[in-house]
């Protein structure tokens, strides 16, 4: 049984971070938050182009929605003025709510689409909304046959 245990460990693969791709902002429409949908060459063999583009387009839509100047944002501003901005301590702004939605969407995309392909999206807000960071993992092969070899999964931080 100990032998089996070691064999299983030997057979276990681990992922290691190989490189990172950064999707830059698309400033063609001004300073609104929008990312380029151009498919990076590094992902060519890792993920289908359509999936990637769909992800980025969805993110762009969400950000556009967050930055939309409309009735809700106006009312939010009026309420903030009326309460001497104390309401910001109690209430979450519209943008923050949409950011939370985006964060959940990215996590879902990671779980369903990107992680199975050895990729990991990072929320752009963590980079100051300048880039979407995509970590590319590689299969680093089986672990060593040492008894203490612990399989390490490519859980990115």
């Amino acid at each position: 049984m100990a032998t089996e245990f070691h064999n299983l460990q030997e057979l276990r693969h681990s992922a290691s971070l190989a490189t990172k791709v950064f999707i830059q902002r698309d400033y063609s429409d001004g300073t609104i938050c929008k990312f380029q949908t151009k498919f990076p060459a590094e992902l060519d063999s890792r993920i289908e182009r359509s999936l990637f583009e769909e992800t980025v387009k969805t993110l762009n839509c969400c950000y556009a929605e967050a930055e939309k100047i409309g009735g809700q944002s106006y009312l939010e501003g009026c309420l903030a003025c009326a309460t001497a901005y104390i309401v910001f301590l109690c209430m979450e702004t519209r943008y923050e709510k949409i950011l939370k939605k985006i964060s959940m969407y990215i996590q879902e995309q990671n779980e369903k689409i990107y992680a199975p392909r050895g990729l990991l999206l990072t929320d752009p807000i963590e980079r100051g909304m300048r880039v979407i960071e995509i970590s590319i993992f590689e299969d680093s092969g089986s672990t060593s046959s040492s008894s203490t070899g612990s399989p390490s999964s490519g859980t990115a931080q």
Binding site: T31, A41, S45, A84, L99, I125, G128
Partner: protein, 719 residues
Amino acid sequence: MPVGLSVDGALGYPSPSRPFRPSRYVPVSAATAFLVGASTLFLCFTCPWLAERFSSSIPLYNVVVFLFTLANFCMATFMDPGIFPRAEEDEDKEDDFRAPLYKTVEVRGIQVRMKWCSTCRFYRPPRCSHCSVCDNCVEEFDHHCPWVNNCIGRRNYRYFFLFLLSLTTHIMNVFGFSLLYILHHTKHLDQVDSGVTMAVMCVSGLFFVPVAGLTGFHIVLVARGRTTNEQVTGKFRGGVNPFTHGCLKNIAHVLCGSQAPRYLGRLRKPHSVEVQPPFLRPPLSEAQLEAKAVDNGIQQSKSSLEIMESQSTDADPPPPPKPEHRYPGMPHTQNEECSLLTEAPPTPSLYKYRPSYSSPGKNHTASTHSSKMSRGNSMTESPSVPVTTGQPSYRSDPSLSSRGGAGCRGGGEGGKAGSGGLGGASTFGGRSYPSFTDTLLQSAAASCSSSLRSAHTAHNALGPLISEGTTSTSYKSLANQTRNGSLSYESLLTHSESPEFESAAHELSPPRPHPPHSLSTAAGAPPISGYTSPFLSAQQREGSLQACPAPLRPSPNRAFLRPTSSPPSRAPPLSPRARSLGSPPPGPAPGHTPLGKSLSYAGGAELQHRPSSSGGGTPMQNNTVSFFLQPMATLLSLEFLYTPSIFLFFFLLCSLSLRSSAFFCPPLLLPCGHKDDSVSVLSSTIKQNVANHNTPSHKPVGGVKKVTGVGGTTYGISV
């Protein structure tokens, strides 16, 4: 958000804590004292009589206005203006010494340059600027306001603007009601209440003129969709502002837009997703399979080339054609270099997950060149790797690339450390950031071609040396003065930091113990023309302001290349040309450009601050406008002093200058700028000119006057 201090522990790269400087808190303390003190005295001594004599709603109204003013003041003071966190090391892929100092993007048809920020380690987004006081890049940077001791940027501009409006209203109320009180107590002026009311009236009257002047200035800015930074650096003097959406929409954007999120101080959630092999792979197309089958792994496969080229077709037409500048033998790949020609910056990628900064490396000179080649090759090889080897691994040359990178970076670090030793270059806490004094170091660095991106180029001579014969300072390696980006009004004369106009930054930096850098240096000669901005020298840009756009260099792409790390053998031939490009010509060369441009605003004050700045006079492109703008900039610099008469003068001059520039947009009328239909005309005209011009001299093309904005954008004005 704490005022004036960078936030440590924020996500990503922590910014260093800056030394505590009590002098920075004097203006904000004085402003707070005056505001709260005078208002309290007014409410306590004058309002009781007003409530009794007229109505109790008067004191109530005054209290509401005062509280509103105070709330906006606090928000402007304490709110994060939109600070970008430092980029993490892995994002900084440009240990590639070819990394350019500027990247050009197209914003609504207008070329805008993004400059590399050596402090924050990323290319500054449009409208972003680095504040030297706060030592942060701020989104949509307006200015650094000493009265609130905070930068004014995207997130808190609204509060600052409302603060100005409400303060003006409050001052008028206080002054008016105090005057009413005095007029009714002319025979009781010896009483305490009257005395206090008179004092309050004097204080409010004294502050009314500068505050109202500044309010009027910002009303115009809001209506025109500009920031203070853009206004005083003359970015859109040519008339086309890509960031404006019309008067009403500009106002709506400021007042009714949703509150932007902060980037610092966010909780960083660790990824809860486990990435574990085996990994799914997308099915390869037939073309890819066929191509890979014949691919020998050295040359880029045809299919991948097609794929890459098809990607580029999405981009707008590239800037005017540039001579082939690539290293011989390198295939035309969709690498960063190539994509610089297209509208948007390429998708940067790391070759290999980069280790942390290594020790300064001296061997980068040899390795950089090879790594240059290897990097390019590797990028082309990567698509074919999985096919030929069957393994989904990138067949890069990690030793070379990482070594080169590490070497470059190490060199940079070494440079930094050296520069720090040279003369206290770094003024930022424990970080040994290079600064002006690095110029000396850079001279050495040029020969060793260390990682220039981290080195700061103070003197133009250096930039050109490094340039491989291309436009001198368009290299991240020469990035430097960017840290002096604070745009407090007082520093406007000395220093203004803007995405496209970083070359002026060092010119405008506040007086330092170090010798100022000549303009053209580093930014040396950052290319000007908006459509091909990185290529033109500062001199050219200056000249272009007179008439035509600065001529393009024959190899504009080279401008993007970072020459330094090039082998020493390359350096000598380049230096003379580079020097000719970058070194500030003695006397009235157009080069002192960015300084010149800003000098048009800063005028004499700037020269007073920087006597040895760029040697020689600074030509004023637009003498008429500059005649008015010089004193205006002087006045702006005196925001700190804020005497009423000066600001009245400032306000008048501002109006005059706006009129003379034909862009005046009275707040009431709000014609709000130019139509942008001339952009397409400009682009074709500019491209034409760019292709034709090879000399720094600019002559107006028949019928169209070319004006190059500070940021490198070039506009044609029909004459």
